[in-house]
Chain length 191, copies 2
Amino acid sequence: MEHLSDTTWRFIHHFGEMGSRWGISRTVGQIYALLYISHVPLNADDITYLLSFSRSNVSMGLKELQSWRLLRSEYRAGDRREYFKAPEDVWEIFRTLADERRRREVEPTLSVLRECLLDPKNTPEDEHFHRRMQEMYDLISMANEWFIDIQKLSAEDLTSLMHLGAQAKKLLHAKNRLLSFAGLTKEEVSE
Amino acid sequence: MEHLSDTTWRFIHHFGEMGSRWGISRTVGQIYALLYISHVPLNADDITYLLSFSRSNVSMGLKELQSWRLLRSEYRAGDRREYFKAPEDVWEIFRTLADERRRREVEPTLSVLRECLLDPKNTPEDEHFHRRMQEMYDLISMANEWFIDIQKLSAEDLTSLMHLGAQAKKLLHAKNRLLSFAGLTKEEVSE
DNA sequence: CCGTACTTTCAGGGATTTCTGAAATTAATG
DNA sequence: CATTAATTTCAGAAATCCCTGAAAGTACGG
């Protein structure tokens, strides 16, 4: 890649902007967009040249992306530079991203909430605070578990489920009807 | 509320930090955490006093939270100040938050991708860029549609589905078996 | 309309984050 | 083990974001 076309630049630029709205800095977003779209793995100098920011910034950016487990890298015979690329599978990228955010943000939030919920309740006001924190804890905790669980599924299964969308509700009800028809309660059906 | 207890302060402080990792500033995060946890609606002066930052900052923060549709407010007889609170239902809060982010971040991203996909492909390299952008577009687009669809469901239905988690896969396969048992293809079953 | 109670706006200062370039570090090669 | 290639670190500059206080705006009650 000699230099960036208008289209690729727009793509890269947009993901820079998006990145800066999330925890990621603009340049890190751009580096990842570039690696995502490139048809060939790139080394740090390639990135420095194509995006024209400082070599050290690229180095730090790559390090950060690695800490998010978002990069694959390889070495080549007779070349001691490291070549980076994003995973082929878009699903994998989003999954990793989401999981890393879960670990960095959701888990610590749950810890703080758990601690707050352990504190003594001295006043009726405290009772109310406790209740609200509990509500939030329950929701976040459930979503967290759900996400961990859902990660087991393959991209294809996830795709099917997504296409199912709100229809899943009907399926759920149908399932419950079948169970009660068979004279079973939910509890009797183990896993 | 005369002043904040240690526990509430920890809660508020944490959501300030979390907010600053998302698009929201620290103080806006704190204001919302306070309004969320308070047992009684608060006016701007209450917030200024309890969190001790400037009145104007509180004003701007409330305005921003309103632009996210995250606040309810009320007026009281003989008091011209506006009193704010967060919705009672935690589900509603997260739903609103997610939907607003969808509108502010996901939709514009899809627009950019659509535009990029319309651009002419001049080289084999461009073909590759196109393919990668298409892959990303397809995934984001599907997730977007899915989320819009899922929003129709009630908190209870969502809870059931979440508890179902990865088991939903079995349900999906059961459905397909039922369909093929009935001699129907997916395509023949419209909605 | 005037005064009062409250809210909003916004320019500028302060704080934080991000980026750079020089120097240090690491690692491969002859 | 010296040389060279590549990477990383880090202090400070630059850019950005956030918050404040003063001033302007709004709206209600008399």
